[in-house]
């Protein structure tokens, strides 16, 4: 009688169907092969236990980040619009890029915004200077403090569908007078564009702080911005269309307090 080789025994131990029935019947009749099979089964059991303990071992987090980032450019869903009041305000006061780094588009659709946007930019510069000098006074020798100070926190929540916190944005002022917004969020919905962080002002104005990737980021605030006036942190879904304005699709929002 020809005994089974290891390959055949392993297939039996794995409960894979052997190429022929010979192995299955042989092992029932042959004590020696039956014993070998038992030994292989123990080994297979050990390996299965080890694998169960290891868990699924998913691909590294940066792979997930890359998937989330790529899908953000592709998803078809139209996401939560800005709330009515802010949308209305936005239509009256077009947003500008906070730092004025992006040139204003001059295409016909947007040209009617150019003058107000420029006026707003000039206004921001003037008010910026005012605040800047106020801040300079503030950091005189008496009050100089090199440690960053936590000034306010906003709890970010989805605009629609749920009241659970998606994360926080912390307003921090560093010793040199620069304010930062430290954003940390998770489980943002998958979106069509990129996540862009904004500060919304009480008067319907908004400033962009930049693109949020991988759920967290630190954003320097434009020098001199009045955070009491721009107290709402907003994360929007921005398509890569070259239009620096807010898309009016917000995915999360919270008020600094």
């Amino acid at each position: 009688m020809q005994h089974l080789d290891d390959d055949e025994l392993i297939l039996l131990a794995l409960d894979e169907i052997p190429a022929n029935q010979r192995a299955a019947t042989h092992v029932d009749q042959c004590a020696q092969c039956g014993e070998s099979l038992q030994s292989w089964r123990l080994t297979v059991g050990t390996a299965r236990d080890a694998d169960a303990e290891l868990g699924p071992e998913p691909a590294p987090p940066h792979v997930w980040d890359a998937i989330a980032a790529e899908l953000a450019l592709l998803t078809q869903e139209v996401l939560t619009p800005l709330d009515h009041q802010a949308a209305h305000a936005a239509s009256r006061n077009p947003p500008m890029n906070a730092r004025g780094q992006q040139p204003v588009s001059l295409d016909s659709r947007r040209s009617r915004w150019v003058m107000p946007a420029m006026a707003a930019a000039i206004g921001a510069v003037i008010s910026g200077l005012v605040v800047y000098f106020a801040v300079r006074d503030d950091v005189g020798p008496d009050t100089r403090d090199t440690k960053p100070q936590l000034e306010a926190v906003a709890t970010l929540k989805p605009l629609l569908g749920g009241n659970e916190s998606l994360g926080e944005a912390e307003l921090v002022k560093s010793g040199n007078g620069v304010s930062w917004l430290q954003v940390q969020v998770k489980d943002l919905p998958v979106i069509e564009g990129s996540y862009e962080v904004w500060l919304l002002g009480v008067d319907g104005k908004m400033v962009s702080l930049g693109v949020l990737a991988a759920g967290e980021g630190n954003f320097a605030l434009p020098q001199g911005i009045d955070t009491a006036a721009y107290s709402v942190v907003d994360i929007s879904d921005e398509p890569a269309d070259g239009n620096p304005a807010h898309s009016k699709n917000s995915v999360a929002r919270g008020e600094l307090a």
Partner: protein
């Protein structure tokens, strides 16, 4: 979700086994959290297949990205009635790896195949045989990489030898050889350890 518990012990369901219908429904409905759960559960399988198939870790990570992006874009075509999520992702992975192979020029393919054959697993050294029986994870992790991944695909991911071979492009004989050598090494460890205690 159901997959969260697997890490802590109970055996995982085979990809072809029953799965939580709500999770699949949420996936089809475009709930990105369900995509993350799918990633958490199955990206390991896809990565293992891709590493074995492409023999390049970075290419393999790229392929994982491609597979999950495809899966998400094509989520409406996934029919839970007709097959499991694991099986569906397996199919996408197989096509993607096959596409990559088709894109490789013939010479490179031959070189890769030769490298694959040349990198026969090493026999376990004396040090390898001294194992901590309590830490069974070590046993799997100490195996040479291709063996380890093939064993994980067979046991944890529940794939048959043929599925592993068809998806990765490895010859069936190579897959079987990895499994046999991997199990032989584990068996030897166990027996040596048993004799020593």
């Amino acid at each position: 979700m159901i997959y969260a518990v697997h890490v802590t012990g109970p055996p995982p369901p085979e990809p072809n086994g029953a799965v939580d219908p709500q999770w699949l429904q949420r996936f089809r409905d475009g709930d990105s959290a369900a995509l993350k759960e799918t990633f958490d559960r199955f990206s390991g399988m896809v990565l293992r297949l891709a590493v074995l198939g492409l023999r390049d870790y970075h290419d393999a990570e790229d392929l994982v990205q491609l597979v999950f992006v495809r899966a998400w874009k094509g989520r409406h075509t996934f029919d839970p009635e007709r097959g499991s999520m694991g099986g569906w992702l397996l199919g996408i992975t197989r096509r993607q790896i096959a596409d990559r192979y088709a894109a490789l020029d013939r010479d490179r393919k031959i070189i890769r195949a030769a490298t694959s054959l040349a990198s026969a697993p090493n026999p376990p050294s004396e040090d390898d045989l001294v194992i901590d029986r309590l830490d069974v994870k070590n046993e799997i992790n100490r195996l040479p990489r291709p063996q380890r991944m093939v064993l994980r695909l067979a046991f944890y991911d529940g794939l048959t030898h043929s599925e592993i071979a068809e998806t990765t492009g490895l010859p069936l004989g190579t897959v079987k050889s990895h499994i046999r050598r991997g199990l032989a090494a584990l068996k030897q460890n166990r027996e040596v350890d048993g004799a020593a205690s």
